[in-house]
Symmetry: C2
Subunit: 182 residues, 2 copies
DNA sequence: GTATACATGTAAAAAGTTACATGATTTT
DNA sequence: AAAATCATGTAACTTTTTACATGTATAC
């Protein structure tokens, strides 16, 4: 469905930016729901340029380093807007290797499975801590933003990521406790 | 990481089965954490056979319809066991188109965003109901299973899927209520 | 007899990952 | 001077999806 296309259009629609800037966005804010690497981004930018949905101007950084600053075209913007207006059917449930391994729990002994669960738990707690720190510094969480601004979307998905992470942790903890008491 | 390979090995390790049986598994139980279609399964079965991890016997169904009943080999089993013993690092956060759209909420007006959220909510409530019905009929939920059995893994991931779904719904509801009161 | 389920494959395209490849700029 | 970051690309491969393709068996 060319979702990467719309993720890029949406970002460039907010602000003109380079491929490198996009890459950073995909690695920070968007990492919680849409990751993309530079090897996917650069070819897509080329394609979108050819399709007339974005254009770029070459900017010189320092002495001679060239970078391409991309902007959205009217055509790009209206394509993006019609994408965002579409209602979406539920996607297939995301894949999860850990849940798959858990499903095959009969092939593990008790100590191994508790080990696996604890290892996941440590990592998820670490991840949650980072998300909560991001939230702590977020302007909307400090009541500085308002609904309808770009920062509101940012806030709302961050909140969702924290809820998702807490639930995963709760599941891990409940499983561990159940396994230890049986 | 060839996860599909291990999903198939794990299932065949439980019971000998055909490609069609596998397909049904991937579409029912496993759909909540690892989906695969028949066009992925059949080539993988061929590959695993060539690698000596599984073998098959041809069974005649009815008059002449041939089906291939796959079994795991010792080599396949030990490969599977070493996979299941591995500790896993956290995977990248799964992609989610709806969260991506939500992130770009500044490009929607209030009624459109509430509409989108409600549409998701209806679908997720439906999905949750199905999961809860599956749980209701589950032997472990009726205290008929015990930890360590294959059904326990089944139960534990189903429980996780329900928790995940409830949290998604809670997120949707909180967002709707916040949007309606602002 | 007809519809649904059983049963197995391949082909082409799209999406995503990992590795290869290069060079400039800024910070320490 | 070295390390980190900025900056942009391609190649090869893996994974996944969608479409094409065919035929049998069973339940109603």
């Amino acid at each position: 469905m060319r979702t990467l296309k719309y993720a890029i259009l949406g970002l460039i629609n907010r602000n003109s930016m380079t491929g490198y800037d996009l890459m950073k966005e995909f690695n920070t804010d968007l990492v919680n729901f849409w990751y993309a690497s530079h090897s996917q981004i650069y070819p897509e930018l080329k394609k979108l340029t050819k399709e007339g949905l974005i254009t770029y101007t070459t900017v010189i950084q320092g002495e001679k380093m060239e970078k391409k600053l991309y902007s959205i075209t009217d055509e790009g913007r209206s394509d993006f807007i019609s994408w965002i207006r579409e209602q979406d059917l539920l996607e297939p449930t995301p894949k999860d290797i850990f849940r798959l391994k858990t499903y095959f729990i009969e092939s593990m002994d008790k100590s191994l499975m508790i080990n696996h669960f604890n290892y996941q738990l440590v990592q998820r707690l670490e991840k949650l801590k980072k998300l909560e720190n991001t939230m702590k510094d977020h302007p909307y969480a400090k009541k500085l933003g308002k609904i309808g601004s770009a920062k509101y979307g940012d806030y709302i998905v961050l909140k969702g990521a924290i809820m998702r992470e807490r639930t995963y942790i709760q599941w891990l903890e409940e499983c561990i406790s159940e396994m230890e008491n049986n």
